[in-house]
């Protein structure tokens, strides 16, 4: 998979491994730096670097995010 829209996310950073697929990743570099290593797949920190793993993390996290957005807008619409 090519990186979605060339955007920089934890889920397409070279440091990521999966913590809870697809929404959470684990970052070994953050652990090394004594920071919380669990990040949102669609999050990002200043240490991002490109190393395309060709994985589905960003694609699937995007789908989940869009699904949640659709759900919450339909809830809002229903309330209205």
């Amino acid at each position: 998979m090519k990186i979605v829209d060339n955007k920089k996310f934890c889920g397409n950073c070279g440091n990521h491994t999966v913590y809870h697929f697809p929404d959470k990743i684990f970052c070994g570099r953050r652990l090394e730096a004594d920071m919380d290593p669990v990040m949102d797949t669609l999050g990002r920190c200043g240490d991002w670097h490109l190393a395309d793993q060709e994985c589905y993390c960003v694609r699937e996290a995007m789908k989940n995010k869009e699904g949640e957005a659709t759900k919450s807008s339909s809830v809002k619409a229903a309330k209205l």
Partner: protein, 333 residues
């Protein structure tokens, strides 16, 4: 030898009339005495003699991915029932034991999977067993904290792999864990190639953090006198080998170094001897080194350990009966 001595025993054809217990089936195999059936029935007889021999310490050498494939609880039960006295394992099998102990799982998969698709979903394949990457990652994360504790409790002391396994087992609460069972029963468990597994990478994570207080230290050479001592102190020694590799070599080398030689040996493997690799080497070859006695009760079973090992255990447990009790062997004196 006379001709009638050579053709003395007829092949008894296998009969399955109605329900058979596992041991009854093994007895049918014994009647046949042929090919894998004959070897498996001989393995059952040898293992039974091993555990009934009060002077024998029983070593289990564990290689190949049998823990992720489903032998974990069986091995833990054998340790708890003292039907195994010493475990020598690959790092990987104990890693997979720990993965389940900290909440991870192994999944039924398929050998015809689309491996690049698995890669994209961060799923690892061990033949037809799947392991999600997050279960390794959660293991690593848990281990960094466990390694911190072990290091804090052992400042300035390098552990043997046996010490490491005991410390790790003490910090797991899953009663189905092999490491936990070994810790609770005081059963020596060695992981001679501990670094060659996820334990090595978890150690790297633990040690490379900016503010790490104490780094866990291991000294693999400490294993040598410990395991040789176990062989030396025991009047007799027996080994069950699943696969081969480093665990088989560790057990056999201890038998050699203690000048004892194994009295009993069952090797379950599908490897071949022609490459010179240990996993396929015949027990006759092992005799030339003095690792197994010439007169030892021994057999190799060329079959999938996932089938043969549980059959062998079920058969022997059935023979031993519910009231069989075995004294502890192999503990440090």
């Amino acid at each position: 030898m006379r001709r009638e001595d050579i053709i003395a025993e007829q092949v008894q054809h296998i009969k399955i009339n109605g329900k058979l217990s596992v041991d009854e089936l093994i007895q049918e195999f014994s009647g046949s005495g042929s090919f894998g059936a004959g070897r498996l029935s001989t393995a059952c007889n040898i293992y039974e003699r091993m555990v009934r021999d009060e002077s024998c310490t029983v070593f289990l050498a564990l290689a190949g991915a049998v823990v992720p494939a489903g032998l974990r609880s069986l091995v833990a039960d054998l340790v708890r029932k003292r039907l195994i006295d010493v475990v020598v394992s690959t790092g990987a099998n104990m890693v997979h034991d720990t993965i389940e102990a900290v909440g991870g799982h192994h999944y039924k998969g398929h050998w015809l999977a689309d491996d690049f698709l698995l890669y994209k979903y961060h799923v690892y394949r061990i033949y037809d067993v799947f392991v999600p990457e997050e279960d390794f990652v959660k293991l690593d994360y848990a281990l960094t904290k466990i390694f911190d504790k072990i290091a804090d409790e052992n400042v300035g002391r390098a552990l043997s792999s046996q010490d490491f396994a005991r410390e790790l087992g003490s910090k797991l609460s899953d009663s189905n864990s092999i490491l936990r069972a070994a810790y609770e029963t005081g059963t020596p468990l060695f992981i001679p190639a501990v670094r060659d597994s996820e334990f090595g990478f978890a150690h790297w994570l633990h040690a490379s953090r900016k503010n790490v207080k104490n780094v866990l230290m291991l000294d693999a050479f400490k294993d040598v006198p410990e395991i040789v001592g176990l062989c030396k102190r025991s009047a007799k020694n027996g080994m069950i080998v699943i696969g081969g590799g480093v665990p088989r070599n560790t057990v056999q080398s201890a038998a050699l170094a203690s000048k004892k030689g194994m009295d009993y040996a069952v090797v379950i493997t599908m490897d071949r001897p022609e490459t010179g690799g240990l996993s396929g080497s015949t027990l006759e070859e092992t005799v030339s080194w003095g690792k197994v006695k010439d007169q030892a009760d021994k057999v190799m079973v060329f079959a999938d350990a996932m089938i043969v090992f549980p059959l062998m255990i079920a058969s022997v447990v059935e023979r031993l009966g519910d009231n069989f009790e075995r004294a502890a062997h192999g503990k440090e004196s």
